[in-house]
Symmetry: D2
Subunit: 350 residues, 4 copies
């Protein structure tokens, strides 16, 4: 059974991968690596795992990144994996990265992303030569993941926007520069580190717009959608942090280059995603809770009365389809499994 080495195992991103690997029939965790909590059982770090696993967190110094495994998963912040990448490439070890390090095919594209990122100072890429060997991991849009040595797992907001708009951009239906997106996210995307913005007394019952026009995930969404359109793409994006734990609901408005009925567009979406087991095109607006706990991306849309405009709404669980679930979907493809293996999860409702 292929063995997965998990780096950055103790954050929420690592946790999601651990939980799914515990139940995966064809993949297993070979090592949990993290600076924080090294030496502790992961079930002591996260008591809800008690009785599910006895795995112990190892410090990065106590094990070699890339040794004794078939793939490395970096559930780490930006600019960590690029440091290990050259050695892994030399050793022929495949890897998947949760951060933005390998989401772009060239250094200038990466530099745009890095410049928009609130905590990246240096916009250069430390493993530039490997960028053209990496693939941006949206399985619904490419078959190349199966053969790729490096997969850049997409950002959470980008997943909801790209899947929500891909059919329209692919068909040239989007009037340039008219796309506005309001993204509503739960707190868990910010990770487990206590911070003022995620302090319970502040965030409960609250909605807080942030990084208006400047969120770095837009860069990858525009890059990908522009590629589908065979030209550029422009998305005006406002993220909002909500007093909720899980989920991203994206509401996307735009003018169409030609009128189209709601029925025709829904039909086109169903056709576009016919082979995408995790995309559900719904007749009614998706809800945040409708995907929570699952790897689904729910999408629906409505047109204006004159059919010149459309609103598309998408919902994902930010920690699953927006992060670890999508990552496992990619791992499945990398190892030749059905992409749904270990991911057949029904959303938790109510």
């Amino acid at each position: 059974m292929p063995r997965v080495q998990l780096v950055g195992a103790t954050g929420y991103g690592g946790l999601g991968m651990i939980e799914m690997l515990l139940q995966h029939p064809e993949l297993e965790a070979s090592a949990l690596i993290a600076r924080d909590d090294a030496g502790r059982r992961i079930a002591d770090v996260y008591p809800h795992l008690h009785g599910r696993t006895d795995l112990v967190v190892q410090a990065p110094d106590d094990t070699s990144i890339g040794s004794d495994c078939d793939v490395v998963v970096f559930a780490t912040p930006d600019r960590v994996s690029m440091g290990y990448a050259p050695a892994l490439a030399d050793a022929g070890v495949r890897f998947l990265d949760y951060s933005g390090d390998f989401r772009f095919p060239d250094a200038p594209s990466y530099a745009k992303y890095a410049a928009a990122h609130p905590s990246i100072g240096d916009n250069g890429h430390a493993a530039e030569a490997l960028l053209d060997r990496a693939i941006y991991g949206v399985p619904e849009l490419t078959d190349a993941i199966a053969e790729s040595p490096i997969v850049g797992n997409p950002g959470c907001f980008a997943v909801g926007i790209i899947l929500g708009l891909a059919p329209l951009f692919a068909d040239g239906l989007v009037e340039g520069n008219t796309v506005t997106v309001d993204g509503l996210t739960g707190s868990s995307g910010a990770g487990k580190k206590p911070a003022a913005a995620q302090h319970f007394s502040h965030l409960n019952d609250n909605v807080v717009p942030y990084r208006v026009f400047s969120h770095q995930h837009v860069v990858e969404a525009e890059h990908t959608l522009g590629g589908l359109a065979g030209g550029g793409a422009s998305v005006h994006f406002v993220p909002h942090l909500l007093g909720m734990t899980r989920g991203i609901l994206s509401t996307m408005h735009m003018s169409l280059t030609r009128t189209a009925s709601r029925e025709a567009l829904l039909e086109r979406y169903r056709e576009f995603f016919a082979d995408a087991p995790f995309v559900r095109v719904l007749d009614t607006p998706p809800t945040l809770k409708g995907t929570a706990g699952s790897n689904f991306c729910d999408i629906s849309l409505l047109t204006s009365p004159d059919e010149s405009r459309v609103v598309v709404m998408s919902s994902i669980d930010n920690l699953l389809k927006g992060q670890s679930g999508n990552a496992l979907q990619n791992l499945n493809l990398m190892f030749g499994y059905d992409q749904t293996l270990g991911l057949e999860r029904t959303p938790i409702y109510p």
Copy 2:
């Protein structure tokens, strides 16, 4: 001291007015009238009022609407006040209405609103002759409230949109047909009647888009903003119901007819609202919780890097500035008081 007769006293809209009248130095409640709970003390209907008042709810049959009072406040659903209006007008009794009955100056405008309303079947107006004597009650935009015999209190979403966009429309800065608004609302706007959409197990941790492109409050927002612009106005609006109790956060995107800097626009907003004690123009994005429990409308904005687009965000407490608070502000004006009387409430935080 002027006496206020409150019709529809036991809904959330009536409750808000009761609470404020209890502490108002210059207005008092003369009667609480409602079908539900008639005969009960309001403090038994709402136990948090225990010890604050001994007022008893009266059935509408047990008292005359408009008798023994200086003003009637209708905190009732659409098409209730229009039935009583002619008799009140004949008797010279002023009134303020929470519903859409008196928000429009003529029957055709009302008909557009009524057609968009999910529970109004008949689009005709039962007191058409009185419409031109009524004023749409946004105190920040008109001085006519003081003298008006009839005030139509605005819809909750409309308040946040109108105040957020008024300076831009007044200055002709809004590129036609480019305005998109995502409105995020707590549950309390739907009132106290149990319903599937407001069932706790369903709504908690949830976000539910609804009435996409078809919410009736847009009609009054477009009417008002179009009036400011000296032409029409078009707003593409998607309301979202959130698993929160109070507040409306509106995020409004549009193209500008000419470029403008963020600083210049903020300065213009501050000037526009210089005499509006409840509008706060902030340097940072407003938050849902930043206005909760108060009558404030917080507004801020950002421009795109090329200054051709702007995002305006506004936050109100939907039950106060979006309903009862704004209503009391109107009552203060109707009786010649300072508009802030009894409304000097600091938001509840945390």
Copy 3:
């Protein structure tokens, strides 16, 4: 593969069973029966099931209860299954019931329960002759479920109290009449029907004590714990409804008949539950969220400084270990499977 006929399929209790049967390797749903929503696809009733199943809800009149199946599961209110029970018994069809109908071995015990129930008027039992063939379905306390033709699935609060106190009662450690329990429950136990107590605007951010000293689940807890103690048992219980969706946290205080150290008691608990795969005895207090989405019952305890008193805390997901999960555990045993089959769910965190 054994086939399960589900009666009362469209409530939260039925929903939980549907979701688990969809993923169960050795059981399948033969029919979903319900009065509400008959004729609709269950995935239209609950959109989060879209793409997971095409099963259609059938009216009870359109199918025979007990026909074409190997077991009937009644996810129905009190006093429904007792009406069908005699015919099922005659036909030799086994069944499991979610309600209190078959939780007691004799009519007088049932009558005590019925008298405490807020919506049972008649305390008589319509299938009294079958009571001694039924078993109370707490798999951690009995081996008889495997052979039983009728299983009465326990009440949600009862599960948390019984598992939390069973070792102490079994060992005679509980000082009579000193047990007080405060139970904290999410809203989902009240089901999907909109009601004032579960109205979002009322329940959000709220805690509401209810049925103080009089909740019917205490009757079955006292009956079961008294049986373990070889005498009576008395539990003074106050349930509290919380503005949360899932989970029951029970905090149980009592005096001990003899002093005992925390370590000794924890050791005893671990021994008592050594063969119970879903009971986790923790070193730290359990949390509500620590079991959400799983079939676990987490338990921990602390003693007073003089070791004469103990506080035991237990946490369950009220819809899983407190209802459908425990029911499936019972079904597994009824069909000779490992009790964990289809229930190996990790709690959802964060």
Copy 4:
């Protein structure tokens, strides 16, 4: 108008006092002092105060504690005020302290509290000689606050427990050693500093028991209730942190020394609190939200069927009656005002 110097102005405790002083007709803030955020406008620290005040936070080094004011309010952690106390006493400046420093009449009593406190290392008192000049500030139990130079404002849990049990202890109705209390608190009592226990993703939808049997507030509750009983008092207390922002709901169980009916006990409570404007004795169980935003303490009770036991429930807003509201009530008394001045706040509902 008496001037209040506020030390520790930027925490939630200080914030509550600022908000109330802004609207108080007879008291005003002379200075806001805090280490954090010194030099900033308080309205920039807390944007919801924008437009309400231009006060600037001063560093403790830039002003003299106790100078230019009529009273000092220490909204500071334990062991801060005792350092300043001797100088203030020498200068004849009265003060009120939010911490445990002046809640006890003698050093041995304080030492018991300090020993139970999770962050106090040294159990000695730095201003022991002043303890007998201080009063424990529960205005419902003493008239001495008016004349006292030093007031120790009670702990939040202690307020709910003491008011809930005072009549029973005063009447000798409580059977010794049988009192168990489960306290349910919102997150705001822990203050504004980000921490893992208050991280939104962790606490949302969660209930977390903590400091079982060992919370320091029990020491002052036992001390006060024992004083009322003319003997000792013993309270077995388990606090629970809830995923809510505001409020403490305490559920208190005990055996009675003699039987008493619910009606008789409620009558006795109403008599006991006849002169206490902020205590509301209700016929139905209090709710967490029923007091939120107000200075009320709501209390109700039920007896067991044999009338040998009672459950008392109390609800307070932990930041108001549990902290700043009670503090202002004390300040009012210290300056000879009606205790309700500036505190006539209706709870926020829904």
